[in-house]
């Protein structure tokens, strides 16, 4: 039986970690896709029409059917393309564990790490302290609930690993650009280790943004944000 050829399009931006998650997922599954780089100041008609509720990236369009929200997209990819790697374990309890930690990163961690970019002085110091606390919780959680984690090949990568690398893979660039360290081999050894090993995978290297380009972008973006906050 001939396999029907699928048309897959991803609307994203090169800088967005949410967009990165989907790119990594598509590449892990070996799915060919068309990538549309969106300008968030001037979103395409196509994006707005197909994601009218949130008007955000990433947006996956599969054979004309749009799927929005990165985690929803990732689960959709896993259920539609059932080849390896599978993003979720089989056991319901283990699946719940993955969902818990993904949700923790998405909400509790992002909530504070996002602030750091826009703050300085005491406000920033407070956010950094809180971010370090929450990342420590994540680090300990990974150690406790996913001990002896193998990350050697694509098959070892699931939803949690995708979220981790897409979200934290840029931590060194952030450290250089903003001068703040939150993830380190001393304070967060498990998380640091996972990131290092994930970064060695060729599928991750394919979507990696050059370090200097990233540092430059973050510095400029931060300047803009601080200026905006000062003018407000």
């Amino acid at each position: 039986m001939e396999e029907k050829k699928s048309k897959v399009t991803l609307h994203g931006t090169w800088i967005s970690p949410y967009s990165k998650r989907v790119e990594i997922a598509l590449k892990l599954k070996g799915i060919l896709y068309e990538y549309v780089e969106e300008d968030l100041q001037n979103k395409s008609e196509s994006l707005i029409q197909q994601n009218p509720v949130h008007k955000k990236i990433p947006l996956l369009v599969h054979d004309g059917k749009p799927v929005a929200e990165s985690l929803v997209i990732l689960e959709y990819i896993d259920e539609t393309w059932t080849n390896s790697p599978r993003f979720f374990p089989e056991d319901p309890y283990e699946r719940a564990q993955v969902r818990f930690w993904v949700s923790y990163i998405n909400q509790q961690v992002f909530e504070v790490t996002g602030q750091i970019m826009f703050q300085e002085g005491e406000a920033q110091a407070k956010s950094v302290e809180e971010a370090r606390k929450r990342i420590k919780v994540l680090d300990e959680g990974l150690e406790k609930h996913f001990p002896n984690k193998n990350i050697r090949e694509n098959d070892d990568v699931g939803l949690l690993e995708i979220i981790i690398i897409a979200t934290f893979g840029v931590h060194k660039a952030h450290r250089e650009a903003i001068g703040v360290e939150i993830i380190s081999p001393v304070n967060t050894p498990t998380l640091y280790n996972w990131i290092e090993r994930l970064q060695d995978l060729s599928v991750v290297k394919k979507v990696e943004v050059p370090h200097d380009k990233l540092v430059n972008f973050i510095q400029n973006y931060r300047q803009k944000c601080l200026q905006q906050a000062a003018n407000a």
Partner: protein, 217 residues
């Protein structure tokens, strides 16, 4: 002999209610334990050390936290009866999208309506009505968000209906006039025993909200 699953919960919590509805939909017998937030139980602190929140479902000694996680877990652990999701991946993605919408847009807005006053409450009302209209448009003429069957999105949203009277009273507006289809949907869902048994009386919720407003605003 297996022990009953234990649900750590708090009676007015719409999030706790989601877990109750899910378990009852599956016909799972469970032990309901009311938590006192001024004196959280050792089991809660041990099972959800990070958030220390309800609901927590403890099944075979292992805890599952976060209401939508619990609902999905219940669906996967007891797959034979009343599946919460359709089988088609695209429709499943749509269900997840809309439950996520409820959590992202609806929950914050509804809290502002009953838990705040003045400008914050007004802003909340606007967001709430906007969210409700979007949800109503998604429901369309279907009996449930899940189509012909009561499903994941229905479970994620129906628990807020026990709070509708409180929203209307403290927000000073009528939900029915903004979205009659949603009210009709809520009534339809309440005909299900899994829902009616899991949601407290609206009057009790109104009293609870009034007490909160008295103490906090």
């Amino acid at each position: 002999m297996a022990n009953l699953p234990i649900l750590l919960d708090y009676w007015p919590s719409m999030f706790g209610m989601r877990a109750r509805v899910a378990l009852r939909e599956k016909g799972v017998e469970f032990e309901y334990r009311e938590e006192d937030f001024s004196n959280k139980s050792p089991l809660l602190l041990q099972s959800n050390p990070i958030h220390k929140k309800i609901p927590v479902l403890v099944h075979n000694g292992k805890p599952v936290c976060e209401s939508l996680n619990v609902v999905q877990y219940v669906d996967e652990a007891w797959p034979e009866k009343n599946p919460f999701f359709p089988s088609d991946p695209y429709e499943r993605a749509q269900a997840r999208f809309w439950a996520d919408f409820v959590d992202k847009k609806f929950t914050d807005a509804q809290f502002k309506v009953w838990g705040k006053k003045g400008e914050e409450q007004e802003a909340g009302k606007k967001e709430f009505i906007e969210a409700v209209k979007i949800l109503e448009s998604e429901l369309g003429d279907k009996p449930y968000f899940g189509g012909d069957s009561f499903g994941y999105v229905d479970i994620s949203l129906i628990t807020f209906s026990s709070w509708f009277q409180a929203y209307e009273k403290f927000g000073n507006f009528s939900i029915e006039s903004e979205s009659p289809k949603l009210i009709a949907w809520a009534k339809r869902c309440m005909e299900k025993e899994s829902v009616s048994k899991s949601l407290p009386d609206s009057e009790k919720i109104v009293a609870y909200a009034a007490e909160y407003r008295k103490n906090n605003l």
